[in-house]
Symmetry: C2
Subunit: 344 residues, 2 copies
Amino acid sequence: MVQKMDSIVLANRPLGDAELGNFRLETAELPQPGPNEFLARTIWLSLDPYMRGRMNDTKSYSPPVGIDETMEGGCVAEVMESNNPDYSVGDIILDRLGWTSHGISKGIGVRKIDPIIAPISSNLGVLGMPGLTAWVGLNDILEAQPGETIVISAATGAVGSLAGQLAKLKGMRVIGIAGGYDKTQYAINELGYDVCIDHKSASLHELRKQISVAAPNGVDCYFENVGGKTLEAILPLLNTFARIALCGMIAWYSPEATKTAGPIPTVWGAILRQRLRVRGFIIFDHYDRLDAFLEEVAPMVSNGTIKYKETISLGLSSAPQSFLDLLEGKNFGKQLVRVGNDPK
Amino acid sequence: MVQKMDSIVLANRPLGDAELGNFRLETAELPQPGPNEFLARTIWLSLDPYMRGRMNDTKSYSPPVGIDETMEGGCVAEVMESNNPDYSVGDIILDRLGWTSHGISKGIGVRKIDPIIAPISSNLGVLGMPGLTAWVGLNDILEAQPGETIVISAATGAVGSLAGQLAKLKGMRVIGIAGGYDKTQYAINELGYDVCIDHKSASLHELRKQISVAAPNGVDCYFENVGGKTLEAILPLLNTFARIALCGMIAWYSPEATKTAGPIPTVWGAILRQRLRVRGFIIFDHYDRLDAFLEEVAPMVSNGTIKYKETISLGLSSAPQSFLDLLEGKNFGKQLVRVGNDPK
């Protein structure tokens, strides 16, 4: 049997909300590695909100995915054939092959994974890019301190769930915001949040009231993943000199949703009056912190101190729908696609 | 002749734009200083944009002025009678008597002025709160560096005109934004701006284009005094890791004006994508920097290295109209009211 390669490409750009018709599955001959290259097969594909931005043809921190190009994304993969002396058949690696069953790589930016430390999929979540985002956001961007009150939006997401647990270990009062009863209960009972509030069942006004009750001393740090109603609710509750780490705004990734957004002076006035520090960050700028992050967090994942949850969809062809579900918050924890079997 | 005291009080709160009817002139007997107090007469009253915020009954960094209370404000005044051993008749002081011809003070927060260093009015402008705002904003908040490009809004205002001159002395490329031909020419020819752009004669799109031409290497620092069209124009031009010092948003002090403001995601998206650092600051938090500021800047004002301009209106009763003019940008440089004569 001749083996084929499946890939999901960007068929066209979304006009409003992203939809299934924006993607197309393509099948091709399995490619052969050239000099110094290796061929790898994807085992796990990571789905992340930032990918929505790559579907637009607008200036961002990375160029957009081109039409008919494979959607980009991080993967855990196994080396199948290698002409590169640094990589051997059977190596398990973290690579950016994209939404594809197989890929060719020169090994640049690739990291080998030790499958002994933790399940290999965790390198896309709690020990991967989202985990590093949580750790850098909390320590380097917010400079969060024991005794302070922090609010974390998308509290049970891949970033938020680790940020919340690390904040609790640091001795902070930790308030989560999540969508739906199950997520809020998980945040409190499993992740150790002091309070977790359901934004779906509350108006902006009610959400603000619930946060203010949960934060009797006001809010010192806001880990911002969502924008939208949650941001607008929290602004007046931020203490003087409070800090905001802005690493995502999923509520506003759809052009449609921005039509209901409040006006700039709402947020600009809060920054001025409350003397806030707001800092945007993208984890690609902070990979120099990876070793320090893994040194601290990997042992806690291994010994079960840190918990994490994954939503797994099966087969590469399930990626588009799973991605749309992720944008609507239907996932619970890190969203993964199982593209291939675990190594034997 | 019995001497009277004139004061301008807040008669009622503005519903939209501030107007003359929000103020009322009141006359009373001249008060007598009690134990440890002194009586002072106002020579110069400072008018500043932040006062607009004090007219609203909303939470801010300071409580609002009460209805029928004297409008607050900084003054240069002369001590007339004193029961306080630290202050003698004839002392020239910087105080916060408000919009009034006379006031009683215990001397708390008062600073004596040496009339030899510079004209006493300069202690309300280039050597006062606006000057300190410019210096702290540039050095402590923006951490501006030689070789960088800075944009300064309200470029010929009391804050902007010093910020621009200090930035130029630091070796930066300095781009001003001001309202009208006369101000832009003054900024370039007298203050030494590399470029100054007239926001009044340009649409948002044209303003953006002019700034982008003036900043071929992008913008590293934005000294934000205005909000509105200028902010929206500059957002896409800010470099990765650029900084914004937010110390005013005069374009949005009127509730009416906020109706034409853009949506929050515009600014939130720029902060995220361009990894900006935005910091709001209020000069009252930074008075510990006053001595360092005066040590550096006062000699440069004395010897003429630093230039400054004042718009002077005559008589306390002119204060309300002059304040409304200030909010519309009709002043040129620091807006003062001459309330009393210079000391003999």
